[in-house]
Symmetry: C2
Subunit: 366 residues, 2 copies
């Protein structure tokens, strides 16, 4: 099988006019054929000739020219709190795959200061954009993103794990960062079913006999983490004799360690399980447990969120909620494309599963 590219020695780069010359037609015809809109305008044989000439010359359209002509860059911006995270790497991977499928580019804007602060994403962006996808952003960062649209124009915006699902069972809930009505039709939301994830965690632990359970919640004001806290409280409230606790934690190993130490050495009976908002926090929690001379899961069970590769790197391996981050990115990109096409319809949140491993065990007797 020969290479699909023939080696084209000369010339900087073939243009559509070169293809036209080679095929014996006009440049306009080349554009029509290669644009796919030649139904009934160009005969099949000339169309074939054009395509052959194009692949023959190794023609690739000049996107700068196309973008200039169309006034659209076919490029979206993905804003993530941090790039150095496996989770967001997966979100990106999912989104970029769908984007490429549709001839879209995807440029990344890693909010530099970690979750919580996002500088104007458009400053660092080259040229115009067709839309923005923001993943797991803090509330104030989201507000700023919305406010910084260039020229005040309403750019389509997709928020991932950032807004409350419009579930009918959750009617009275008003978010402080609810989108302005004007932006309604250019805004979409794609979420993991994080509430269900938390419910699964609590169910798993209470099923193992745990009653004194403390939630190590990430100290960040975003929907992603608020929904975890709320659902934790709600789920625990349905369990007789349950003793829920709660401790804020920085989103890091050290943060988890500190928070876990506070939770385990505080007044009152010691919790037998720690529910962490994140695998990283959970890793810190495990360290804290051991520093206190206790064992995971013998004395204290620990759970995480995200199912990063970290979860199985730890020893014992971490019981954690597996989030299909790649799917999230893919659905987010699809939502943006739908938004651009004017055909977006809200979809149900993405299902999550609980990966049960070795960091959870039956509650110790007494």
């Amino acid at each position: 099988m020969p290479s699909t590219h023939r080696d084209v020695a000369p010339g900087p780069r073939p243009t559509s006019r070169d293809v036209a010359r080679a095929a014996g037609v006009s440049q306009a015809t080349v554009s029509l054929v290669l644009g796919g809109k030649w139904q009934g305008r160009v005969s099949p044989r000339t169309a074939a000739a054009v395509r052959e000439a194009a692949t023959d010359l190794g023609y690739r359209p000049n996107l700068a020219a196309r973008d200039l002509r169309l006034g659209s860059t076919r490029t979206a911006l993905l804003v993530v709190p941090a790039l150095t995270s496996e989770f967001f790497g997966n979100v990106y991977a999912g989104a970029v795959a769908v984007a490429a499928e549709h001839g879209f580019g995807l440029v990344l804007y890693p909010s530099p200061q970690g979750v919580g602060t996002a500088r104007n994403p458009f400053e660092s962006t080259r040229g115009a954009l067709d839309g923005v996808i923001a993943s797991s952003m803090a509330a104030d960062a989201l507000r700023e993103i919305r406010g910084s649209f260039p020229g005040g124009q309403a750019l389509p915006l997709v928020m991932l794990d950032s807004a409350p699902p419009t579930a009918p069972g959750d009617p009275g809930h008003r978010e402080p960062d609810a989108p302005a009505p004007a932006a309604r039709d250019t805004t979409a939301t794609v979420n993991h079913d994080l509430a269900d994830g938390m419910r699964q965690v609590v169910g798993h632990l209470t099923g193992l006999g745990h009653r004194r359970i403390t939630h190590l919640g990430a100290a960040i004001d975003s929907w992603t983490f608020r929904v975890r806290s709320r659902t934790f409280r709600e789920s625990m409230a349905t369990v007789p004799d349950a003793v829920p606790g709660s401790e804020p934690a920085d989103l890091s190993v050290g943060g988890g360690q500190t928070a876990a130490r506070r939770a385990l050495t505080g007044p009152g009976p010691r919790p037998t399980a720690l529910v962490c908002d994140d695998d990283t926090i959970a890793a810190g929690a495990c360290k804290a447990v051991r520093r206190l001379g206790l064992s995971v899961p013998g004395d204290v069970s620990v759970t995480g969120f995200d199912d990063l590769s970290l979860a199985t790197a730890l020893d014992p391996e971490l019981t954690t909620v597996r989030l299909p981050a790649q799917q999230l990115g893919a659905h987010g990109m699809r939502a943006l494309l739908d938004l651009l096409a004017g055909s977006f319809t809200e979809r149900p949140p993405l299902p999550v599963t609980l990966a049960v491993r070795d960091s959870t065990a039956p509650a110790p007797r007494r």
Copy 2:
């Protein structure tokens, strides 16, 4: 302090002609002034007027038009083996910062199948590129990247941790993927001083009394890992009574676990230290040690490479070689800019440091 952007209600987006109208000059003058090449061609007062009009209207040049005109996209491609890695996230962060400083864009191409295979990076790339930065790629992937330059033209290429440094002390070493002489002037190399890192590891361990040391080398054919293996052997050769071992490992927790089990249960005396090519492998190694009823670092010391956050998430915390990945990215981007300016000069490799933590201890007596 008022916002720097005035709210411009109408019009889709101001063009340079709008600025010209507002400033009472021609579009050409706007272009000159804003392009910064108005020395002696435009009076300072008109230049000031133009700039004021521009910021006043919130003018931002249309990059599609500029790219079309200049034939350059001011965009580079960064090819990394995997995006879901903290290490490459840091490389990207460093590179993108420098790129933005110089008005360059940086688009990411995560080679989908992990280290070792890279599909044509240009297929997934929108439009033309000014250069490519490839980080820690396997030898065959590098070859393919070089072969897939569009139109056969020689795109400037910077390789990070991918080629031998041109150190005078290393004369006889010929790489199978040495760049063709023709591409010499459009190719640059930026490396971590990985050899020194490995020397520090071996020095640290032998200083602690270890003699039976096994290297868990990543089973990937790339310079990054070849240099580790080579330097391990060379360093061990200088130590009297040293018993070096070596075991290939897949680049994952599971791979490290398997390789460590082989190393520890093989024939001959058991090694007292495992030198891993990567923190992930080291995490697996720690698990394997414990599965055999041994302890880290009591019975077996373990070291890693990269100093990912994983290193401090583990318990005990990992002794590992800290690589300034962000610096690597930054230097790589700078090298590319120099290459484009025709002023590139090879620089010495980036120094690395050994982060000594709790996974290494004096060799057990007897």
